[in-house]
Each structure stands twice: as C-alpha cells, then as structure tokens.
C-alpha cells in the first residue's frame, strides 16, 4: 500500500530540503507534482500582507524554521512548529511570531507573543488551511529586525471548502 502522507519537511531558509524531496520520491510521490519550495517568491499580495505587519521593513530569511507537512492530509488540523534561533535575553529576543496563510479566507492566522521569560523561541499549534498555498512565518526581533520562513504546501482535503 503506498504511503498516504509525505514526510514532514523542515523549511529552514534558504534552499530546497533535499531529504524531504528524496523521501517523497521514494514514497511514490511525483516530485514534479510538488511545487518547488524556496524557489517561489511571495506574490505581490503576500508581500503587501507581510509589509503591513512589519510596517514596511523587509524580513531576512534565516534563523527561523517553519516545520509543516509538505502534503497535508486534512486541512482542518495541521500541526505546525516554528523555531527561531535566539538567545532570548532582555537585550536580544523574539517579540512575536506571526503566521500568514495567503489563500485562507482570512490570511492572518495567529500571532505568538513571546519575551525573555520564554527561554527559547519555539512554539507549535494546529492550523486550519483552506487550500494548497504558501504559509509564511514572520518573527519580530527585539532589535527591530524581522526574519521570515515560508513553505509551499499541498492541501488535499480543504477546511472551510470540503466539509468542516
């Protein structure tokens, strides 16, 4: 029986995650059918959404990992984990992590507010995704900079549209 679900892919910018692509190929998935990941830049609309939350600043790719399945079996509940490399001190910490699903009815999904008391910038949640799209995580650092990671994911059973 073919594997129902592709392995989780960890999207640490930059670069295509070779291990997940190879694993996906051995699981019988057509690699060509999966959209290339790091290669796609945000659409103008998505860039605007990002600019709104960073107040115009351009986020850098790096120091942030967005862990979300490349192939989502059911959009009603999608395990998502975000890790930002940060000492989480008073002087240098993550203030918040914001999640955008560009093609959801409401693209702003959630915002995690952290601080030095967190010890680590690592959060996880379950998301609701309407269709195949790019998911973007933007983190605001205490020094004023922003970092970003994104993932192009395929949703086979959509929330909102199919059933729930």
């Amino acid at each position: 029986m073919s594997s129902a679900i592709s392995p989780r892919s960890r999207h640490s910018e930059p670069g295509l995650d070779r291990r997940s692509v190879l694993a996906g190929a051995t699981a019988g998935l057509l690699v060509a059918a999966l959209p290339a990941r790091a290669a796609t830049e945000p659409s103008p609309e998505l860039a605007q959404l990002i600019a709104r939350i960073t107040e115009g600043a351009v986020p850098e790719r790096g120091r942030i990992t967005l862990d979300i399945p490349a192939l989502v079996e059911n959009g009603n509940s999608v395990d998502t984990r975000i890790v930002v490399e940060s000492p989480m001190t008073d002087a240098d910490h993550v203030r918040w992590i914001h999640l955008i699903a560009e093609k959801n009815p409401f693209p702003d999904m959630a915002r995690f507010h952290l601080g030095p008391r967190a010890g680590r910038a690592e959060v996880a949640t379950t998301l609701r995704l309407a269709q195949s799209q790019k998911i973007t995580a933007v983190a605001a650092l205490s020094g004023g900079a922003f970092v970003l990671a994104d993932a192009d994911i395929v949703v086979t059973l959509s929330a909102c549209i199919d059933g729930g």
Binding site: F112, R117, G119, T125, T126
Partner: protein, 107 residues
C-alpha cells in the same frame, strides 16, 4: 458548550530549566460565515486570545484568528523560576473568558 482544557507541564523542574507547556482546548472555534438557513450567516465564535501568567507577569500570549483549528493545540516554553501557579485565561468572541490554573513545582 462545554469549554475544557488539558494543560500538560512536567511534574517538576529545576530553577532556570526551560519547560514546555502544552495546552489542548475544547472549543469548536466556529469560523462562522455559513448560511443559517434564514437568509443570514452564522456569526464567528472563536477563542481569540490565550494568555499565560506566571510569577507575576504574562509569559505568553496567543492571538488566534479563524485559521487556528477547532479544538486547538498550542505549545510554548517558559523558564522555571519558582514554584507557583501558571494561570491561563482564554478570551472568546463576545467577551466571555475562561480560566484554568496549573501548578509548576520548581526545585
């Protein structure tokens, strides 16, 4: 509607240790928008905020929109500073709030 929450903490932690806090919440997180059969639409009714307070100040805040799943799970971390209650408060569309408390034992 039966709100409920399951909070998972380690049984003990040493001072300064970073602990993971896992929270599963029972709530339909109704995104609304569906037809109500009378020409109108069902209003949105979700939990829109979760705050956690520990040792005197907020340690975490989770702003939620309709993109968060029904019966949502969230996990975050905090440094163990002293034995005490971590107070969780959820805010729902319409203003209702729900509170739960979990004790973190710090050695």
């Amino acid at each position: 509607m039966t709100f409920n929450a399951r909070i998972t903490l380690p049984p003990t932690a040493s001072v300064g240790e970073i602990v993971e806090i896992r929270v599963l919440t029972r709530h339909p997180m109704d995104r609304g928008g569906q037809s109500d059969g009378r020409g109108g639409t069902v209003p949105r009714k979700i939990l829109n905020r979760l705050t956690a307070t520990y040792a005197g100040e907020p340690i975490f805040r989770f702003d939620m929109h309709t993109g968060v799943a029904a019966n949502p799970f969230v996990s975050f971390t905090t440094r163990a500073v002293a034995t005490g209650d971590i107070v969780f408060e959820w805010r729902e569309d319409g203003g209702a709030t729900y509170t739960r408390t979990a004790r973190l034992t710090v050695t």
